[in-house]
């Protein structure tokens, strides 16, 4: 494999990792405040179809993104209502929600199969890269890739350097304390469940408007679940999501590239890469982290009720 191929794989990995990055930033926020949102896969599908539908109806991709934000916020509010207010089992709720959204997105999306959206996200040409064509595949990305990087940095700053971020961390590790100090745990958890849902929706829209501009039933293809693994890999730190997302993205790129290079392994096994390698990486990371004790938010997936222990 020559350098050009490696750079191509990295560049492709960044593109493939971007939807994971969006979703992971959101999920880190949600899990840090104690909400395990397993509805990501469903939210991504709904984001993908909403974005695609509105972008092709209006001919403007940004209206598509706006619609995704609105719809995902609504779906996130429903999830929060169930998991925070009704204190339903978060695992069951997330999976049920994903099943629901899989059906709903396919239903809504039926007329859009094969429809071509006119306005999608294209790679931005970087004139200054003309001198270094080798770096082109890495830095010539669409605008959403750059926004994701900025979001990741912003999330790190937000979580560790702001008052709201402090409350977010406290809500996940010790909600009773936060509550006794006059900050509503419910409010905090609602906000980040909704924010997480919006980011998952944008991740979906990235798939249908940038990554492979089209609508295909079930096009999230397990990326929602991968995101959950990614958050675990990132040890619930927003700044780590970017490494994980691009790494997982490179696994996608590898599985395509190796296939194109015509190596002797049947392509079905290469296609397992994006699912198997993250697990392997996660196992290695957990092996090391195990020495230090648990790093997960203390009340992850535990509903809060005032006055309970």
């Amino acid at each position: 494999m020559d350098l050009r191929t490696i750079l191509w794989i990295i560049g492709m990995g960044i593109t493939a990792g971007t939807p994971l990055l969006y979703a992971a930033i959101g999920e880190v926020l949600a899990e840090r405040c104690g909400v395990l949102n397993l509805g990501l896969e469903g939210l991504m599908l709904m984001g993908a179809i909403t974005g695609y539908m509105f972008a092709s109806l209006t001919g403007d991709k940004w209206i598509g993104i706006l619609a995704v934000i609105v719809i995902s916020a609504l779906l996130g509010a429903i999830l929060a209502l169930l998991m925070v207010t009704y204190r339903t089992n978060q695992v069951a709720t997330g999976i049920a929600f994903t099943i629901f959204c899989t059906g709903l997105s396919a239903l809504i999306g039926k007329p859009y199969i094969g429809v071509v959206a006119t306005d999608t996200f294209k790679k931005i040409r970087m004139p200054f890269l003309d001198g270094v064509p080798m770096l082109k595949p890495i830095f010539e990305q669409d605008i959403l890739v750059y926004i994701a990087v900025i979001l990741c940095i912003a999330a790190w700053f937000f979580v560790y350097k702001t008052k709201a971020g402090l409350h977010l961390r406290a809500a996940g590790d010790n909600p009773a304390t936060l509550d006794s100090l006059g900050v509503s745990v419910y409010k905090v958890r609602y906000i980040y469940t909704i924010v997480g849902s919006i980011l998952a929706g944008i991740a979906g829209a990235y798939l249908s408007l940038a990554y492979s501009p089209s609508w295909i039933e079930g096009m999230a293809a397990g990326r929602g679940w991968l995101t959950i693994a990614l958050v675990n890999f990132a040890l619930w730190k927003p700044q780590n999501t970017i490494t994980g997302a691009y790494l997982f993205g490179i696994f996608y790129a590898l599985s395509y590239r190796l296939e194109a290079m015509g190596i002797a392994v049947p392509s079905y096994f290469l296609r397992m890469f994006p699912y198997v390698l993250p697990l392997v990486i996660l196992i290695l990371v957990s092996w090391r982290a195990k020495q230090k004790g648990s790093i997960a938010p203390k009340t992850l997936a535990v509903p809060y009720l005032r006055g309970s222990k």
Binding site: A164, G165, H167, A170, T177, S180, L181, V183, K292, G293
Partner: protein
Amino acid sequence: MSPTADLVVAENALELRGITKTFPGVLANQSVDLTIRKGEIHALLGENGAGKSTLMNILTGLYTPDAGKIFIHGKEVHIRNPKDAIASGIGMVHQHFKLVEELKVYENIIIGWKEQGWLLNQPVLVKHIADLSARYNLPVDPNITVRDLSAGQKQRVEIIKMLYRNMEFLILDEPTSVLTPQETEKLFVYLREMKTQGKTVIFISHKLNEVMEIADRVTVLREGRLIRTMDKDQTSPKELARMMIGREMETIAKIAIDKEVRREPVLVAEGLTAKGDEGQVALKGVSFTIEKGEILGLAGVSGNGQSELAEALTGMRPLEAGTVSLNQKEIKGATLHFIQAGISHIPEDRIGTGSIPSFSCIDNVILKSYRKPPIRRGWTLNHRKAEEIGGRLLKEYDVRMSSPNTPIKLLSGGNMQKLILAREISCGPKLIVAVHPTYGLDICAVEMVHNYLIQEQKRGCAILLISEDLDEILTLSDSIAVIYKGEMTSKKHRNDWTIETLGCAMMGIPYQTEESADVTN
């Protein structure tokens, strides 16, 4: 104390009128009228379950009362949630600290503080807090992660948190329960300091001597009712005790076991080394023996390796090094081996460790005896026998429940503990590891637990009693040892200890003088 302070009818800073609060089936507070004066230290005295905590949780907005009114400086206030309480200047230091262990001290102090801007400016905040801690003489380093602090330091963080918010009323719930005697003395100094700076302190306790030492006025609660409020100077410990319990106190008939009977070591622990949940070394080569019919009391501030020691002795935590032998036979491996060797365990967390919460009382009481016939029949569980045997045990130990099939999680703490005792004692153990066995129980239940332990001691059982309550350790133990940072002192007869020497050992410092017993960081 200035003599005039008591003569002037001080302003009623805080007034509760007719506070009533019920929980399903339980009347926690019944028409309580409480008056707190400005700048006093007011003790709220009562047994566990007397309704003190409920009353204070109403003041801090965690519970809403069914009836009653709250006045601050003569004006009615509505406290519907913690936010309202904070706005009214009421702050509470809970018995279980409301601190986020994973966060830094300064972060904990500013959580939820309204005037904090959206951006956290660490150097400025740290300086602010350092100034405040200097002003009230409460030393603490704002940059440390709370998990690494001792209980006494955490309590100081809690107090600073309230001072930082400029709270007028400071409620302390059983503040001395986690402190060494010396730390308690220091706390009293802080409290008096705060009083001189104009704060009003409500001090919740069930310990008479402390109340007599620190309070200006005392209110006694019993069974959810306010019995009386009086000046400390006009009452005596004896009178308070009578009001608190509703009858004369009985002293536990502690029978000294004939020394000659013992002398036969039951438990020999050698060089126990184990890691804690966070991966830190929690036990560092702990060695000791317990003889037949001996109660060894293990004192220490919680978090110094007690839980890990209890788990290591009962097979729940793997040992990095060291051996546990019972009657000269080494036990290792699975928890089951420890159970089968005759070690019983009364765990500190009744619901989280000592029971299967959603299982019925029957299924819980057989949780260790189901492996043997007649409850076990081949592959199957003989439910009829289980009900018969379990039911008999529940009756014998006077466990009160609506039916033997009630899930254990619906039982009160006292009944839950009776059920656990029934299970752990009925198997005729050679060693009982009892961890905070009376924690959170009311006085009747405490007495009952103590009596069962003494009864087992008479039978010849060796008992390791791990407790934070020094009074409990001193009443029950034959010999006492102290654990500090995973290391254990050698055990000594209980008469060879004094409160002072115990306190020093609990802080890991050699006993010398008052001055050197200082615990600044």
